[in-house]
Symmetry: D2
Subunit: 348 residues, 4 copies
């Protein structure tokens, strides 16, 4: 059994990650840390764990370093930097769910996160952990930068066609709708029930930190500069991200040809489902699962200016965070890629 | 007191319209019809009316025609056509909340609604009832085609800049999020609580019937052809539409200059609030009111390809339907334009 | 115009109170205070006020005392004590929405609220502001202790029969379900969207502070000791309280006779609606209104042990707080009792 | 592998049952029927099954009888009677999730369900499938009457103390709050999103059909007549039942003694968790799981009339239906009782 530890396990992502790891056939969870809740049973904080015995521990790296071979980091960005460096230095493998090692350029990181990157040499070593794009490198990685939730939904939705010659070079519009768990567990006015319930709003327009991450990856896939316009929205639901993406076409291309591209691109992917023509993804259909559902539409009323509309749906806490990190672990350790990730979610 | 009747009053829109008319200082509601509920007290069907005595009547036009001077029609599209013609012929004024007289071209109507338009000569007589755009004509109209909910949110969001020379001529992206009341009161699987709750989905991509309505009006304002890509979404909330609109700019223009255009355009409008720079509209802030909140953002990271992001929020049942129809009535009869429309909504 | 001020206006109750007072034909709001938000426009904090100009002021009693004749206090319990005393001493009238002057016994107050009552002589002067029970005294009062939300729903549901000879003397069961706004606006983990959404729980069993308040008033009405068992529950909705009450009968009495008692008791009440036999109250039907809907049922399968089941529904922020306080003001100043309280609420 | 079939698999319960059976290590699902959806892929109707290949079949008993050894019936009550009889006659085992074989008295069944019982001799053969109470009989049963959702929550909450000498003989109050999936998938006005959302109501007071079922089982456990007063409520959430139960005590008994009774009673039960003193069950903590959480409180302010307040929480679709039926199957076939039922549910 692979020994794993979760550093920073008191948030929604840490909780889901723990759930997945406890159900995984090949791993043993040896420690879960939380500074704030150290010493308290996990079951007192996460009620779905009521029949488990685990306790939160303080984050003493010197002690913990020997407890596991693989460390999942659910720490805030900036705090993650030093911890990744420490564990890497100790010869441990790390899957970092923060944003600290996702951007290849320290400069870009510093501009968007307003904090220096103190371990920029490690940026090269870190692999962006989106298996559908970087599977090969993930297998050999010792540091995984686990993708952000919005980027996962956007990149998977655009990967099969970005950079193709029929695609206009103007910015791609990504209009995303997220459940409230994406905002984390820390109490804050805007995420109180009465503020979120029965309402919808946009936020972070043109300034959301997932923007450079999406652009970096799409540029990598396209092999040419890709610009995006990214607008996240807050939806009165617990989980899920639905991204609606708009891509102008510069050359007439049939919808069925493009749908075929999608089917081929994801043909062997265990967690991406390209839906039948005309079927709409919903976040409820992927809630509780590691799946990404994608459907492709076209507005061809104006042949000269046809626009592709791609809709993708993921569970932000699973495919957008904890599930992806387990998928990465499976690849790193040669486990079945779907191990621990295929239990069917409850519905509705 | 102006005598008014509501034909087709058993839906969510009819209910809200009745509420507004009962609170209006200048009108008397003389009849509310419902074929299905004829004979039953309105208070048995709409619980917020529990202390009123009104009853639903059957829709006998010959009888009803003498009951009122102004008729609000909340009938399904197609059914509305004949009723509008009958009442117009009888010299009555009509505010039609269906789609039957919104499109100036019978051909376009027939293409999108898949039914013939049997009274196309009346299309010229009908005025599209969006006061912010057609106030002058509304005052003299005898047939008002009350705007659709999505079109109201989109047109108000785009009117100040559409057709300006700094705007690219490519299609405008309109990504709208609607509460579930927009789907009406008739029981249907997709709108059952367990289907809608805790989920979000897109629908009607590239085929939604509000598309030609939005294009017609934007083209009229721009004085040149405007194409749109329109994607509606279903949100787990009762009411509200948030539209996020993306407009590519072809000439560098400052955000503050554009915001100034918005402030000027809506300066004297009683029901459009252009929010301060950086403040986000929410549907909850306009819920229960006739207001439309608008905010304008810009993604100028790529100066050559700056994109304007406009967000508008309305209550789909009020500014998007019943409230707009009362505003139209106020204009038609020389009442204060805000009469019956200014009571502050509860919050949260 | 009566000059009124709201002290502590940054919570959900203060917001609703302000809304009602701004729509009231006989009053002028001269000040709204908030320590935390002093100096900021109210419209920045409560979005439904976006088109108003009011600002929050600091709570300087010496300055404010001259600003109004009537003061509404939406301060936390304990903080209210001193302010009520100060204003009373200055000859001002006060409607206190906190719990500080509701309990006639300082000893009981101190036992349940774990804090001394420093102005107990004023307890006699204060009138418990439930118009349906204490209308006459309210008219002459200068200090009103505005009832709690749960107590309002429970007392109105039980008043017509409590103490009657057909009622068993054992404790009355009050099982209440409340929307989340009752917990206030201050950020706290248990009221975050993801904690409340799609769930229900009980809390404060056998220890909720509204217990002695309900018992005091029911004992007063019954003219003999009444004990209750009170269980509040948290429901994933913004507003509303539904109380389901269970009263054992010791003497066989017909349901229709008891329903008649209810109809008679509330016959002239403008804000209590006793529903027809078999019709269920819902919180949505009273949302946004000052109404209390009540329905009475009986389980008579075991004639010797028949149980009355009474269901009442109110909007916790209106009839359970701000609306009741306006109703009290109307009585104190000889305004129409329903003034400012009859606008129909939006639905759904 | 045990061959099983689901008859009537197009509702929420059938969907959850299928999910659990597909994840079960010892069974193979050979058929799922739906008259309405026969021929269509299950994945088109239940989106969480998007990556499965199953299709709905028509309900031809003559064909199906050979397809499986055990049949799960998710048919409407009344329709179930004949099917159970047919399968029993053919020597097959049946777990009937309808109400048709739960009540031991055909007379009581006919009174509450307003339809004759045509196979009353089978009532004796059927075992009420609540493992915590009837485990021994379940093991040998060939017909299981799977318990109702409300009864499960109520009986488990009361079993440890019902009939004890410290309990008053008057009726037990059971106030239950249920998610909307309990109403099924068939479209109906009262369960439309806009009717349920942001509201709460009681229904079926004193006439709900689960009443005699609860009384039958509690009477069996108590070994003396038990009467209940049962009030169900509809909550704006997908799943879950929270039952708050009130039991008057006639003899002074300490809370900790009673809590000890609960701990002992459920000591070896794999799916009942008696929570620590003062900890509240929530439906969210059991959502997606087969657990029943129970907590016991006491109002002892009036020693002579102490009242026990017991709160239980289950997932109505799992422990209240499909999960219980799998637990029963496990017992009938000698599988591990928890087989297929222990995967941790997502949270939040």
């Amino acid at each position: 059994m692979l020994k794993v530890a979760i550093l920073g396990g008191s948030g929604y992502t840490g909780c889901e990650l723990l759930r997945l790891l406890l159900g995984h056939p090949k791993v043993e969870v040896t420690a879960v840390t939380s500074e704030r809740l150290a010493g308290t049973p996990i079951s007192d904080n996460f009620l779905n764990f009521r029949n488990t015995d685990l306790k939160f521990e303080p984050l003493h790296l010197e002690t913990l370093v020997n407890a596991a071979d693989l460390f999942f980091l659910c720490l805030p960005h900036k705090a993650s930097q030093e911890t990744v460096a420490f564990l890497d230095n100790a010869g441990k493998k790390v899957i970092d769910l923060s944003a600290d090692f996702r951007l290849k350029s320290a400069e870009t990181y510093e501009a968007w996160y307003q904090t220096p990157h103190l371990y920029s040499p490690l940026l090269k070593k870190a692999v962006y952990g989106l298996p559908e794009i970087h599977r090969k490198n993930i297998k050999d990685a010792s540091i995984i930068a686990n993708p952000g939730c919005y980027p996962t939904s956007a990149i998977l939705g655009l990967a099969p066609i970005i950079g193709k010659d029929f695609v206009d070079t103007g910015p791609v519009i990504i209009d995303s709708k997220s459940g409230t768990s994406g905002a984390g567990r820390t109490p804050a006015q805007p995420f109180m029930f009465c503020e979120v319930n029965d309402s919808v709003k946009a936020y972070g327009i043109a300034i959301h930190r997932h923007t450079p991450e999406i652009e970096q990856e799409l540029t990598g896939i396209a092999q040419k500069d890709v610009n995006i316009i990214f607008t996240p929205h807050l939806i009165p639901m617990d989980r899920g991200i639905l991204s609606t993406m708009y891509v102008r076409l510069k050359k007439q291309t049939g919808l069925s040809d493009i749908q075929k591209l999608y089917h081929e691109f994801y043909n062997n992917e265990p967690f991406v489902r390209v839906l039948k023509d005309g079927v709409y993804p919903t976040t409820k259909a992927v809630k509780g699962s590691n799946f990404c559902d994608i459907s492709v539409f076209m507005d061809k009323r104006n042949p000269g200016e046809a626009t592709l509309i791609i809709v993708s749906a993921i569970d932000n806490l699973i495919k957008g965070a904890s599930g992806a990190s387990v998928q990465n672990m499976n690849l790193m350790y040669g486990f079945e890629e779907t191990a621990g990730l295929l239990s069917l979610p409850p519905s509705p």
